[in-house]
């Protein structure tokens, strides 16, 4: 039953793709995608914890039969990517016209198909095709919906960096395929490579390749511009299912294909940890300074992906140093972290679209939005923001706590370098958590909670319900975690030989493999919290009714002031950190005064500010210049003379003849 549902997914999405191309109103496409997502959700729930068995697709690609198989980890990540994708399909993008909507839906269908392929296809060539289809779908989504009037250069930048990643993946698969003698992933998994520097190269290639999509440094720099030229719904897909797919591919590559002994694999693990933590730090610092909903949320996705990569590295490290229980715990933690992340991020992206519908802009600014919208909208957004800020009792808190507990397990490792790495990474993740809290306080506080005089909003009922439902899903994930996590038990058994999931639960408590050290319990908190809140609520209601309240305006020195001008802006909120960490940001802060009759009489002031990207000017710009200079020197070939071209063709033919004659 579950299998049939899972097979319905590509069918429905393929149908939706065609419908989007042919039917300009986009209705059928939306229905198709939404139904496909529903089918996927139901199917994943039904097939966990066993996963979806192998199915031969029926094609042959270069003499290799294409197999499709969803492991339990893939099912888990697919499930949590499909839930927000369903809501995104129902609520749709904020594209201005129907034809743009249908272009966007076509892109979405492509992305979803590609992601499904990445999760399930089991040989290198079809995997690469699925990977590229996923990237193409993303580009079509952004370009298709035409939300911004910018030219497509952010999308081109994204595609360029993703191509660098794709080349890295291709090289790694070639290397592996060469060693294994076959392009199927099964062969690569059973290959027992001997430890050698090739392992290090392989690991780095995998990290670069999948990291380009995950936002590992320096690749997170395409995130803000690309997300910022799309709508929130595009961000739901990018940060949800696509991110999960990329992470799953990386996890499988690193854990299945690399030998789990030897110093080279350990160095891969250590590099992964450091890279993950550094990416997270840089990404969240830049996120904190952003002033656009989509850009801030995109960099936060890069941060969460960075943390997941770091914990994956820790898992590999523990597997190598002989702590299989900790390795299994770390792997499960990655998965629950990304699960909570995709739900919460999806909620906030849909909230961003709601903000856009009201304010006609994605700028984070105090507009009194929550006062004029139904309460459930705010509650859903609040749950999501709390989760990403790692506040109890939400899913983000659970996974953040587990991340730290996993790293503490690392103190048992007997290799000094490993212990040092773990310690430093824990410190780095603590810094990341603090800044993430500030970031989401800024987003929720200024963007939603702030005061301002908006006209009554026109948030549609589906959007409010969608945001609320997704927010509830985040809470439900946290509250039910002791039970949901058992779905990953058999998977961890098969990967690491230990069912860590059983040891993560102790009745209603969540524990890191043993209850002696620490525990948390969102399940109990969700009961105790409201009970404890009853007393203040009752007192409040009593005071409202019993006491006579005299309302006076806000005190501001004696004159009634325009509260909009006085309100905290997003720059004011983040300025302290910008000044303190100036060496990371390289902030520029420019106040121009227009003078009238000399330097003492100011007529007008113009203020703008910027934060400098690190890798843009120092890495990408020089590379671009290099490529341009090479292409300039090579462009002599484009001489324009027909005879020259004929001569070249003649030369080529001679070369082919020589090869055919003399090469055996």
């Amino acid at each position: 039953m579950g299998n049939k549902l899972l097979l319905a997914m590509p069918a429905l999405w393929g149908f939706a793709f065609l419908a989007a191309l042919l039917d300009r109103s986009g209705k059928l496409a939306r229905i198709g995608i939404a139904l496909g997502c529903l089918a996927g959700i139901a199917g994943c729930i039904a097939t966990l914890p066993a996963g979806f068995g192998s199915v031969a697709v029926g094609f042959l690609l270069a003499d290799t039969p294409i197999q499709f198989h969803l492991s339990p980890g893939a099912c888990w990540l697919l499930l949590f990517g499909l839930i927000p994708a369903f809501f995104a399909a129902v609520l749709s993008s904020t594209a201005p016209s129907h034809s743009r909507q249908s272009a966007w839906l076509a892109g979405m269908a492509l992305s979803l198909l590609g992601a499904l392929g990445v999760f399930g296809l089991q040989d290198a060539m079809s995997f690469l095709i699925a990977w590229e289809v996923m990237s193409l779908g993303g580009a079509v989504m952004i370009l298709g919906e035409g939300t911004s009037e910018l030219n497509g250069s952010p999308t081109l930048f994204m595609l360029a960096l993703l191509e660098v990643g794709a080349v890295a993946i291709l090289l790694s698969l070639l290397l592996l395929g060469n060693h294994a003698g076959s392009v199927s992933f099964g062969a690569m998994a059973t290959l027992r490579m001997s430890p050698s520097p090739v392992v290090l190269i392989l690991g780095l290639l995998l990290l670069i390749g999948f990291g380009a999509k995950l936002g590992v440094l320096p690749f997170y720099e395409w995130f803000p511009a690309a997300y910022g030229s799309g709508s929130g719904a595009t961000g739901v897909i990018f940060s949800g299912i696509v991110l999960n797919a990329a992470f799953y591919a990386l996890a499988r590559g690193v854990l299945d294909w690399l030998p789990q002994v030897g110093i080279w694999t350990m160095s891969v693990a250590i590099i992964m940890i450091f890279t993950g933590v550094l990416s997270a730090i840089l990404a969240i610092f830049n996120a904190f300074q952003e002033e656009d909903w989509r850009r801030m949320l995109s960099l936060s996705s890069a941060e969460n992906a960075g943390i997941a990569v770091a914990v994956l590295g820790a898992s590999l490290l523990f597997a190598i140093t002989g702590l299989p229980a900790a390795a299994a715990l770390a792997w499960i933690v990655c998965l629950i972290h990304l699960a909570g992340h995709s739900l919460a991020k999806g909620t906030l992206f849909l909230t961003a679209d709601g903000v856009y519908k009201t304010n006609k802009s994605y700028f984070i600014r105090q507009t009194g939005l929550l006062r004029n919208t139904p309460m459930i909208f705010g509650i859903g957004a609040l749950f999501a923001a709390m989760s990403l800020a790692a506040l109890p009792p939400q899913a983000g808190f659970v996974s953040e706590w587990y991340v730290f507990q996993t790293l503490f397990q690392g103190m048992q490792v007997n290799v000094v370098a490993a212990r040092l790495t773990i310690a430093l990474s824990a410190a780095g993740i603590a810094l990341v958590a603090a800044v993430a809290l500030a970031t989401f306080a800024k987003l929720f506080g200024i963007g939603l909670l702030g005061d301002g005089h908006t006209a009554p909003t026109h948030l549609s009922v589906p959007r409010c319900c969608g945001v609320f439902s997704l927010g509830l899903c985040v809470l439900a994930l946290a509250v039910g975690m002791p039970w949901w996590v058992q779905m990953l038990g058999p998977a961890s058994q098969s990967l690491f030989g230990i069912n860590a999931a059983i040891r993560m639960k102790d009745a209603w408590l969540l524990v890191p493999l043993s209850g002696k050290f620490a525990f948390i319990s969102p399940t109990k908190l969700i009961i105790a919290g409201p009970i404890l809140a009853l007393l203040p609520i009752l007192l409040f209601l009593f005071s409202r009714s019993a006491l006579h309240l005299r309302r006076v305006p806000v005190w501001s020195g004696g004159r009634r002031e325009d509260t909009r001008r006085i309100a905290t802006t997003s720059l004011a909120f983040s300025n302290a950190l910008r000044t303190f960490y100036g060496f990371i940001y390289g902030p520029t802060h420019n106040l121009e005064r227009e003078y009238d009759h000399g330097p003492y009489f100011v007529k007008r002031l113009i203020f703008n500010q910027e934060v400098a990207p690190i890798f843009g000017p120092y890495l990408f710009a020089p590379l671009t210049r290099l490529v341009r200079s090479i292409s300039d020197s090579v462009s002599v070939i484009q001489s324009g003379y027909l005879n020259f071209y004929n001569a070249l063709i003649g030369l080529l033919l001679v070369l082919i003849l020589t090869l055919a004659l003399f090469y055996r």
């Binding site: 002033e291 004696g558 006085i566 309100a567 802006t569 004011a572 300025n575 302290a576 003492y600 009489f601």
Partner: protein, 497 residues
């Protein structure tokens, strides 16, 4: 006008004459207008200072009937900007081409039926007023916050509103909005006898009673060609120095309050309190009020016990100032805070210890001696840094100088009469000046046909210095703002009148 050399000009010649004066190194001090006859066009006067020993040049021009308009000089001589706006508000004169033609003294939304200083303004009629938003220089940029701080400010402070454009901690631009306390004191003088006028002059700035009353009395005495006895001169100098003493000690205490040096604050304010009690014991008034009158003093004072008290107080003050100068946490907050460059101080009309801290070496007691200062040794302390520390240091030197001056003056003071008769001359005009604790105070007194006051122009030092203040606040930060404002040590009542 006695006390100054006059030049009568046509309205068109004013710009050229001012340019000549600035070329010679003179510095404009004030500009004002008055109505010699009700219903006739006003006359505008500009006062300059050519330097030590040279008489004050005074430019006068009568505006033509039907067009109360002059060309604005604010672009060339920035410090005239505020004087011209004041004339626009209170006398109804238009200054064509003024760079900031916004209301200054009367807030936006005040609509007096006639310019208030017009003699025909109906007596005792409150002008109609509705609160309106300020006309501020616009700032473009989504991220900038505005903080309108005031007019009711925290703690016991005078009422004024300071508008900041800022982001978090960094102040981008500062725009003080003063004149909430404008009481129309200059109009109060109209019709009073010169003796009664003293009471108004004393209460323009409560902590500058003596400096204002002194400048006023000297203006009336100049107008009526009256020479006061030597003992009165000495007593006036002593009173002026006593006022300087308690003001500067309170200033040091308040500065410590803003740098959160609690014991330093307590000690400074206690010393100021001891000086006020000392004033009360010897003169009957903590603020030295009710002593001065045109012609001398109202009663004689027995100051024989003063040097002994000062000898007892001086070591306390010395040790306090030495302790302040060696406290690193206090100095850290003062050094480089609120830097005022020489050129800005000169162009914008800074006065008193503030201009001396930026390198302008001028003091009315030395350059144009009045009371008994010609007979007493005056040293002018000067600093070049122009920061809060320099302003504090100037005041410390002035405290030391005042203590020495009081003792010396009491030593040198002869016995004798303390007042003479003032024979009022109809239509007389006189200029009086005084170097108060905050800077130079000028009074221009015009008597009418029966010897009563027709117009008194009050130029208080806080008016000049408040104009300078924003230039030290732009592009600084919020933490330094309170320290900077305390280091200027200005009153708002003196500015607003």
């Amino acid at each position: 006008m006695r006390g100054a050399t006059e030049h009568l000009l046509q309205p068109s010649g004013i710009a050229e004459a001012c340019r000549q004066l600035t070329d010679q190194g003179a510095r404009l001090q004030m500009a004002y207008a008055w109505f010699p006859e009700p219903g006739e066009p006003p006359e505008v006067l500009y006062l300059a200072d050519r330097g030590p020993g040279k008489p004050f040049p005074l430019l006068r021009c009568r505006l033509s009937r039907g067009s109360a308009q002059l060309d604005s000089l604010a672009a060339q001589i920035p410090l005239l900007g505020w004087y011209e706006r004041e004339m626009m508000d209170l006398c109804g004169i238009t200054f064509a081409g003024h760079p900031e033609p916004r209301p200054l003294v009367l807030h936006e939304g005040a609509h007096p039926p006639l310019p208030p200083l017009d003699p025909r303004y109906p007596k005792d009629q409150l002008m109609p007023y509705t609160e309106k938003a300020w006309d501020l220089p616009p700032i473009e940029g989504n991220d900038v916050q505005m903080l309108p701080f005031g007019p009711v400010r925290g703690d016991v402070l005078e009422s004024a509103q300071i508008v900041f454009y800022y982001i978090g901690e960094a102040i981008l631009h500062c725009h003080p909005r003063l004149f909430f306390k404008h009481r129309g004191m200059e109009k109060r003088f109209e019709g009073l006898s010169p003796l009664m006028g003293t009471f108004i002059a004393e209460r323009i700035s409560g902590v500058g009673s003596v400096s204002h009353a002194l400048a006023y009395c000297q203006a009336v005495e100049n107008a009526c060609d009256c020479e006061i006895p030597v003992r009165a001169r000495y007593l006036r100098s002593i009173l002026a120095e006593m006022e300087r003493l308690y003001n500067h000690l309170y200033y040091l205490g308040h500065l410590c309050h803003t740098t959160t040096l609690k014991v330093g604050e307590a000690q400074g304010k206690l010393l100021a309190e001891q000086c006020k009690q000392f004033n009360s014991v010897f003169t009957g008034s903590r603020f030295l009020r009710g002593l001065l009158k045109p012609g001398g003093l109202r009663r004689d004072l027995n100051l024989h016990g003063v040097p002994a008290k000062l000898y007892a107080l001086e070591p306390e003050i010395e040790s306090y100032m030495r302790a302040l100068e060696t406290t690193n946490s206090h100095l850290d907050r003062l050094i480089t805070t609120g830097q005022l460059p020489y050129q800005t101080a000169f162009d914008q009309g800074a006065s008193g210890p503030i201009k001396r801290a930026s390198g302008i070496e001028r003091d009315l007691r030395h350059d144009h001696p009045y009371a008994a200062y010609a007979l007493l040794p005056i040293r002018i302390p000067v600093r070049k840094e122009g920061d809060a520390h320099a302003r504090a240091q100037i005041r410390m030197e002035e405290i030391r100088a005042s203590l020495a001056l009081i003792v010396k003056a009491i030593e040198q003071m002869p016995e004798g009469p303390i007042d003479t008769e003032v024979r009022l001359r109809p239509r007389a005009e006189g200029l009086g000046w005084c170097e108060g604790p905050r800077g130079s105070t000028y009074y221009g007194v015009h008597l009418d046909g029966i010897g009563a006051l027709a117009r008194v122009k009050v130029k208080s030092p806080s008016f000049s210095n408040w104009r300078v203040f924003p230039f030290t606040v732009h592009d600084t930060n919020m933490m330094d703002y309170a320290i900077n404002e305390a280091s200027f040590g200005l009153t708002i009542a003196g500015c607003d009148r």
